[in-house]
């Protein structure tokens, strides 16, 4: 109920400000709206922005900082008994009291706690009204100031447009800051990890079994830990599975792209292309049990029938299914790229007496190369980041092997297993996940950079 009232109040405020600005703009013109520098709507917008923006900022500021004021007022209220507690305990006490004051059900609490809870309630009860008044005053006052400025030559359009451009900057800022935040958190947690496990031993160690690093935390276990946090096997596993996936997806995807763009009749294309793209919409967990329950046994049976020992969870099965999963990325993107090669190049080649396949091999594919490369890079990134299929089909054991018939594991799978279950947040095992994430991030970043470079280098080859 309250939320609807608030919403209604905001709508009324915005509408009122807008109407006030707009009608004032009409009023100052004496009926001829054409002499206004800016459209009346811009005047309305300007009044809305001047009224609402300060209020929004104040509200944001209050939400962030009100706790400090509340804490200060409550601790002043509590006196001796509270001051006797240590700083950590004070913090915990206040947090629990604040939490209790927010939830309506107050159970069995001590008198001190009760006092604190009442303190919080009183504080927010008194400040809420003040805050509401302040906000209302800001809205009305800001709106009035802007409203008073409205004249025929007021540059309201510039004002509104500048406000809009700041909003756009803020929006893009959100994306950038989020990325930055994730990267920073990865880096900080990784640094924590590398204090426990030496950087090079993590990166170049060939033995990975974090489950055996359970004996303890701290500098005394560092040496022991470094032996089991060698990331080479799982990166090798990732590489193996990704390679198999690309070996499947690249030729199949590319050939289907060529068929779709140059050979298929429009009717076939209209059906086949969406069908291919459906592949991309299948949940990876479905691929996973397809790999584990159908492909892996099939591989094992057929392998055994020719005398090969295939483990029931093999890199090959996971890689094959992952390859099938990323076919639509390769084919759909490559198809777009091949289609965007100008018809004039095809005509030019045909005009010289080249056959269709000669044209594709010698003209279209070279011209489309940058786009195809970027499609492959995207597919690779997707394959590296894939977890579900590997968990189900390739197993969890970190083998350092180049044999695709054995079970391997990948980085993402290990991150999952490291973080699943009850763990101390600052144990080496948990922190290892961050380090793995960081390295994985660096690898995909490098792939993206390479792809961008390739695209830039060949982009202007045709136009």
């Amino acid at each position: 109920m309250q939320i609807w009232l608030t919403l209604l109040a905001v709508i009324v405020a915005v509408g009122g400000l807008y109407y006030a600005g707009r009608s004032r703009a009409f009023a100052v013109t004496n009926g001829d709206a054409t002499i206004l520098h800016s459209n009346p709507a811009f005047h309305g917008g300007m009044v809305v922005i001047s009224g609402m923006l300060p209020a929004v900022f104040v509200l944001l500021g209050w939400t962030i900082f009100s706790r400090y004021f509340a804490d200060a007022s409550v601790s002043a209220l509590l006196g001796e008994e509270f001051n006797a507690l240590s700083e950590l305990e004070q913090g915990a006490f206040l947090r629990s009291a604040f939490g209790l004051s927010q939830s309506q059900q107050i159970g069995d609490v001590s008198s001190l706690q009760n006092k604190a809870i009442e303190g919080y309630s009183a504080f927010f009860a008194s400040t809420t009204l003040i805050l509401q008044l302040v906000l209302a005053a800001l809205i009305v006052g800001g709106g009035y100031l802007a409203w008073r400025q409205i004249r025929t030559d007021l540059r309201a359009r510039q004002f509104v447009e500048r406000a809009v451009s700041f909003a756009l900057i803020a929006a893009s800022g959100v994306a950038i800051l989020t990325t930055l935040g994730i990267v920073l958190s990865l880096i900080f947690e990784s640094i924590n990890f590398f204090q426990k496990v030496p950087f090079f031993e993590f990166l170049f160690g060939t033995h990975w079994s974090p489950q055996s690093a359970f004996e303890g935390v701290g500098s005394d276990t560092a040496h022991r830990n470094s032996e089991v946090f060698g990331a080479i096997p799982i990166f090798a596993g990732t590489l193996l599975i990704t390679t198999i996936a690309i070996l499947v997806a690249a030729p199949v995807g590319l050939m289907s792209a060529i068929y779709l763009s140059d050979y298929a009749t429009p009717n076939v294309r209209a059906i086949a292309k969406p069908m291919l793209e459906i592949l991309a919409g299948i949940p990876t967990v479905v691929y996973g049990f397809f790999a584990a329950l159908t492909v892996a046994p099939f591989l094992r049976n057929s392998g055994e029938s020719i005398g090969l020992s295939v483990s029931s969870e093999s890199a090959l099965a996971a890689g094959l299914v992952m390859g099938i999963m990323i076919i639509p990325f390769v084919s759909s993107l490559s198809d777009d790229v091949i289609n965007s090669v100008p018809q004039s190049l095809r005509d030019g080649s045909a005009g010289l007496g080249a056959t269709k396949s000669e044209t594709i091999r010698r003209v279209i594919l070279p011209a489309a190369l940058p786009g195809i490369v970027s499609a492959l890079m995207l597919a690779i990134s997707r394959a590296i980041g894939e977890t579900m299929i590997v968990v189900m089909a390739a197993g969890l054991s970190a083998n350092l092997t180049a044999n695709p018939l054995e079970a391997v594991t990948t980085v993402t799978v290990q991150i999952v297993t490291l973080l699943v279950g009850d763990q101390e947040f600052d144990s080496a095992k948990t922190l290892a996940a961050f380090a793995l994430g960081l390295v994985l991030f660096c690898v995909t970043l490098m792939l993206n950079i390479v792809a961008l470079r390739v695209i830039q280098k060949y982009r202007e080859q045709y136009d």
């Binding site: 009749t265 100008p342 004039s344 190049l345 095809r346 005509d347 030019g348 080649s349 045909a350 005009g351 010289l352 007496g353 080249a354 056959t355 000669e358 010698r362 003209v363 070279p366 011209a367 060949y458 202007e460 080859q461 045709y462 136009d463």
Partner: protein, 268 residues
């Protein structure tokens, strides 16, 4: 007086002229829509013939019939007879790849392949296996570039991409690419429409020189260009060949009123 008229009228007598290509009752349909109606046109060897007419008049369609470029369009249906040296090019026995090697084409927009200048010119000879050794190929590329008047400008940078050239140079590269396959007929679809006047003049000069060895059919929107480069001119309107004759006659004294109206700027 009589000397002047003699000069004017020699070209009319077709006695000494050999017919290189000939269209008889050529009709083209795009699906339901008919784009060409019974076009009869002879193309004389070692002459330049320009096809003029308003947009959509069928001149480009006719041009594309001459090397069967219309084959790539599924709904396009060509009837009538087009011959090259007396042989029907729509005959089942004719290999379209071989035909296009004999009837080369240069397009409106310069369309060099995303390859080096050298590879662009070597493209045709390579796919047709025209040369046996690298030296022979080098020789063919060089001579084609020379004949296209581009050699002096590109001889030091044959390995640079063809797209790095200017528009006029690119178009000459496309002409070099086309003549490298040693065609007998060269079709040009508005070859200068994307070029500046100087580049256009260079191409026109080139066309005049190429006439010695090739038979050239050029589609152009610029009547001045048709008047400048061609010996014969054919005027198309609404899919029909309205008038065809020596360029001098078409541009000074067209017989058909539609031709007169078009070239003097009275119909669009």
């Amino acid at each position: 007086m009589s000397v002047a008229t003699d000069i004017l009228h020699t070209n009319v007598q077709t006695g000494k002229e050999t017919i290189k290509m000939s269209g008889q009752k050529v009709c083209v349909h795009y699906g339901e829509k008919q784009a060409l109606f019974d076009v009869d046109l002879d193309i004389v060897a070692n002459q330049v013939i320009s096809l003029i007419g308003p947009s959509g008049c069928g001149k480009s369609t006719f041009l594309r019939c001459l090397n069967r470029m219309n084959d790539t369009i599924d709904i396009c249906n060509v009837s009538g007879e087009i011959t090259l040296d007396g042989q029907d090019i729509y005959d089942k026995a004719i290999d379209v790849v071989e035909l296009r090697a004999r009837v080369g084409m240069v397009f409106q927009k310069p369309n060099p392949f995303p390859k080096s200048i050298y590879e662009n010119v070597a493209y045709g000879p390579r796919i047709h296996g025209m040369t046996r050794s690298k030296d022979e190929l080098d020789e063919l590329v060089t001579s084609s570039l020379r004949r296209a008047g581009l050699w002096q400008e590109v001889k030091d940078r044959l390995d640079q991409p063809g797209t790095s050239l200017s528009g006029g140079q690119q178009q000459r590269l496309c002409i070099a690419r086309a003549i490298a396959t040693k065609p007998e007929v060269l079709l040009m679809d508005e070859p200068c429409s994307a070029l500046d006047p100087i580049a256009t003049a260079i191409i026109e000069e080139l066309i005049d020189e190429l006439r010695e060895n090739f038979t050239i059919v050029i589609v152009t929107h610029s009547m001045q260009q048709a008047a400048r480069v061609s010996q014969k001119t054919a005027f198309f309107h609404l899919g029909k060949l309205i008038e065809e004759g020596p360029t001098e006659q078409i541009f000074t004294n067209p017989h058909h009123k539609k031709t007169q109206d078009y070239i003097t700027g009275r119909i669009g």
